[in-house]
Symmetry: D2
Subunit: 360 residues, 4 copies
Amino acid sequence: MTVLDPTQPLDAIAVAARAYSNWGRWGPDDVHGTVNFIDDGVRARAAALVRTGRAYSLSLPFSGDGPQTSRGTRMNPLHAMRAVETGTSGTRAGRPLPHGFGYADDMVVMSLQCATQWDGLGHIFDRGQAWNGRTASTVVTVRGDQLTGIQNMAGALVSRGVLLDVARALGADGELADGFAITAEHLDAAAADQGVTVERGDILLVRTGQLARVRRDGWGSYAGGDAPGLSFTTAGWLHRAEIAAVATDTWGVEVRPNEFDDAFQPLHQVVIPHIGLYIGEMWDLEALAADCAADGRYEFWLTAAPIPVTGAVGSPVNPIAVKLPRSVTCLTSVTCSWSVAAPPVAPRPSCSPGTARPST
Amino acid sequence: MTVLDPTQPLDAIAVAARAYSNWGRWGPDDVHGTVNFIDDGVRARAAALVRTGRAYSLSLPFSGDGPQTSRGTRMNPLHAMRAVETGTSGTRAGRPLPHGFGYADDMVVMSLQCATQWDGLGHIFDRGQAWNGRTASTVVTVRGDQLTGIQNMAGALVSRGVLLDVARALGADGELADGFAITAEHLDAAAADQGVTVERGDILLVRTGQLARVRRDGWGSYAGGDAPGLSFTTAGWLHRAEIAAVATDTWGVEVRPNEFDDAFQPLHQVVIPHIGLYIGEMWDLEALAADCAADGRYEFWLTAAPIPVTGAVGSPVNPIAVKLPRSVTCLTSVTCSWSVAAPPVAPRPSCSPGTARPST
Amino acid sequence: MTVLDPTQPLDAIAVAARAYSNWGRWGPDDVHGTVNFIDDGVRARAAALVRTGRAYSLSLPFSGDGPQTSRGTRMNPLHAMRAVETGTSGTRAGRPLPHGFGYADDMVVMSLQCATQWDGLGHIFDRGQAWNGRTASTVVTVRGDQLTGIQNMAGALVSRGVLLDVARALGADGELADGFAITAEHLDAAAADQGVTVERGDILLVRTGQLARVRRDGWGSYAGGDAPGLSFTTAGWLHRAEIAAVATDTWGVEVRPNEFDDAFQPLHQVVIPHIGLYIGEMWDLEALAADCAADGRYEFWLTAAPIPVTGAVGSPVNPIAVKLPRSVTCLTSVTCSWSVAAPPVAPRPSCSPGTARPST
Amino acid sequence: MTVLDPTQPLDAIAVAARAYSNWGRWGPDDVHGTVNFIDDGVRARAAALVRTGRAYSLSLPFSGDGPQTSRGTRMNPLHAMRAVETGTSGTRAGRPLPHGFGYADDMVVMSLQCATQWDGLGHIFDRGQAWNGRTASTVVTVRGDQLTGIQNMAGALVSRGVLLDVARALGADGELADGFAITAEHLDAAAADQGVTVERGDILLVRTGQLARVRRDGWGSYAGGDAPGLSFTTAGWLHRAEIAAVATDTWGVEVRPNEFDDAFQPLHQVVIPHIGLYIGEMWDLEALAADCAADGRYEFWLTAAPIPVTGAVGSPVNPIAVKLPRSVTCLTSVTCSWSVAAPPVAPRPSCSPGTARPST
């Protein structure tokens, strides 16, 4: 187990940044980071999981009653109607629209980080540097992310999802305490316990149970306070796992308070700018986790498509997980030529024919 | 072919409303409309399409340069940064955040109808009545849709997608002229030409080619002007097809100008409040259609998850289509017990074991 | 002193509504309510107060750190930059703007009731009725106030201001306790104490001192909680005084909790729809009140021009009070022909020549 | 008359910047610029103008039908209702609010530059420098103007207003053509023609008549296109006049196209960062100008209080001009001790007793 010196966060960040850097791994022009791991083989395996089954939305409601307190930079969605014309009359008299046509239009104002979300690669910097070693101030300006905006990911965050329900694996009540640091050992133990292997290109979901608790007790400081979460020491594990993304049911993925005397979200500081890892926050894993606990299967087809707001450093997302029932068997022979049709995506090599894969 | 009397739109609307009503079909409390058609068999067939392949985002960029003119009730997304702290220095001196931590946060203001979107069931009314025969003014108030808000669809719009590329089927240049009315005959001919059958529970995509034209020539009145689109006379076809939803590459799905002397979006007035049909607008079908034309396969796995803004009458969506390459074969034996984990969903009956289905 | 039966708020409201109604007083088409009291004589007297002196802004800062909690319908202003181009270089190379031109643009999202504000006549209704006996639902729709929108007041809220510093008059520390009900007797006593007479057409400012307290102790529930304020029983006094408007340093003008067992802002329910009185809320009277206490003069020239947002039921306002020093004397001979050039204002009769008025 | 070399805008800007700089004039910490000119004598003279008379709002409506096209960084106000509860019933049954209490709340989203506005000192930079020689990037960041935000002007923009109706002075129809450059000679001629002298501390209004034209013909490119306006060569005149501010009825005060082959708003580049001059744009001078033409008096008391949005580089404003009728005479003897009670204002010296001033 990695030992941290809580008095030396900057040293630890710098060491981790060097050790786990993916800068240049996909060339100097890369804007996709670890999503590059979602290649043909990954998708072939993921696709095998979808035969039929249960679909889960992993999104919180986007509501004015959400977790944000609006004291800092973040606000809950403000939904307002722009028009409500019920069109009661079948005549045109005094009405702009004829024949009883009625309609309603609406709008929203929201922080892109308000609820279930993706952090884009332009969301976090380390000592002035953004993903792939770029100068942060040239990547993100007052006009938004000029290079790695979330629109680059419009079609890319589709892969196998794997749930590590650490909260269930570690305790009877299925809820980790605020401040509980999930280590690599915990992740490995949960995977072993659940009979699932985290593989290259996966979108990893880690359940802490905090959302269940705040649902019961009230939002409190859910949007920015103490929470269970990933230990800083998982940076190496996350790097080696070659996952495309990691998401949790907390506001900030990593443990709060963190493991240093004086630091702010130090794991972010390593994994976003250095590993190029996509981070999902405030995902609702409750129903999916219950289903996984019931059928013992912790893998699924996951579509987590951001709203491609041009230049955004993050995005609301409604992730959809589709579960495979146990009894499905599938024999496939694939010629894979997978590609993502979203904006500026580097070409991917076509691969050789895949092989049959029994899905249980 | 149905003959319309262009001088009598209200009669035609009333006749169609009676003929094609689904009111009560799924009980008096229904809030899902035609999405009820996506049952287990539908999903089993759809899932068989995903083995590996190509993923397409069907979303326009959500950008200030979008099609809206902001003169009426609709505006393009306004994206603004709330914070950009690049954290250049490794020291804490004079900085709120320590050790070179830098970050950026952002926000958006947008009409929910601004770009690629779903119309919710509360978006259109007919003579004061909303979906399932409810009084419009009690369903949608200034505080939003009190009953059929888009959050009900959080996990539901996942099914087989079928593209009918009417524009390609009908002409060499693949672009229908503004004002061209697509009839049931055109839809059937395109389906026959493409070798695909529209089935119960499908999400149907109809390509007119207008988006290709405005991409080349400028937005013009794309967000609210003349367009090719579905004839009013397709209402019966849409009803009989028992599809879950229909989406096009135009702002309003139906032909503009429409086929009456004086009417406004008359097809909407029938299909949303009476059929309970979900309508998708301004979907970018270009890359997907090119792929379909290339491989001759017009069906795919489609995940079109709205951002579940509570009470909204519509939602931005980034639909993701996953195509199956020709060479894939798949033999499945499924026990299906499909359900949607989104908010208030009526229970669905579990079904008997599915049968093997070769996917080509 | 009026005695209230706290168990019968509706009766009391109905009685007061009848007794103090101004419906029809300025004709059936009136949209100005008590601002009609600001006639030529009023302005002549007010104008005499401005010779030179001290100008006070009575506005709170419009800031994200304001009093709103964002849990209900109201939010603090959200200010965001839309562009910051510093134009460092004197060359055009790589820059959209030449020769070192730099600029910044910004935007705001805010509840119109967020900070220092006017309540418009469309802000409050009584049993379905709005100002002048109109049906509320036809006056204010989802598209805003169709008739009495704040834009009608664009040029009208300019008159003599009078401060009644009840908090100073009643106690040593100059701060009334939350729940303290200011009665007509208190108002009269303060006026007598301060040597000022409230006259027809005045804009009356009543200081409770609550703002001083929350400035010291934190916003707490300043934006919607308990507060000192006007007693329900002042409705008659406010009606008889023929003032154009009344404003306080609290969020809701009237005392909270109010004097009934079960009622919500009952004084509003009488004074806005029945008297047609303009109400100002969250005005910062501290510096002005200190000045008045120092020089013993409680009257001033007050310009309180709303931002004329079309159809708004209220508006942010930055009221400017200009004080007259004691030593000014002024002899005037006026022919008055005062009018307000703002949108739809009914004609006012021209008056006969004014008379000289010594200003002390 | 100054001769410009249209091929050398940067030289001209640099020369003017040096020649007309007010940097340091009010000390290194100044945040008020030319508003410092509004001293006691100025206010004494201005105040003498207010006896009674006519009040004019110089504000455009803040409406969705405003001049902005929303294609760039600026949008028209978006006004939305947040609540409309008409409270029809006198009972509490099923209602959150008792006894027929009804209300409406609303919100606005708008560019601070959308309609009638003040440019703050942080709005324009010259080669990386802001007002008083500060580094622009430290004054204005993504979080707004850190130093010269418009809130500094909360109580300051109150003074004598003077209208130079150049359009009326120069021609029969009272509308200057787009591209017409108003020179110092034109300004002087209009002043002479109108019998008014521009003095230190005045807020100068210059009418071009363009607003009358677009009102008649449609907004067109009013919010950012060609316009009559001040010549670049007026920079010296504006500097020497020691006015507090200048406002016009156009979007950008200066002539468009400007007088250089390649430049963007070059006069802005001199007057805001170097002279520290406040600029008002899109002011509606029509009714006021008609009144001035009718009575021959071009001076008035002007209150132009910005909404003090913290950190804003500009602000919506509803300027109120109060006119003095011809027949008023006034003899005053003032002891002036004028001060502005707005946020951070440098102390002003008290002045000696003013002198009587007949107001005609």
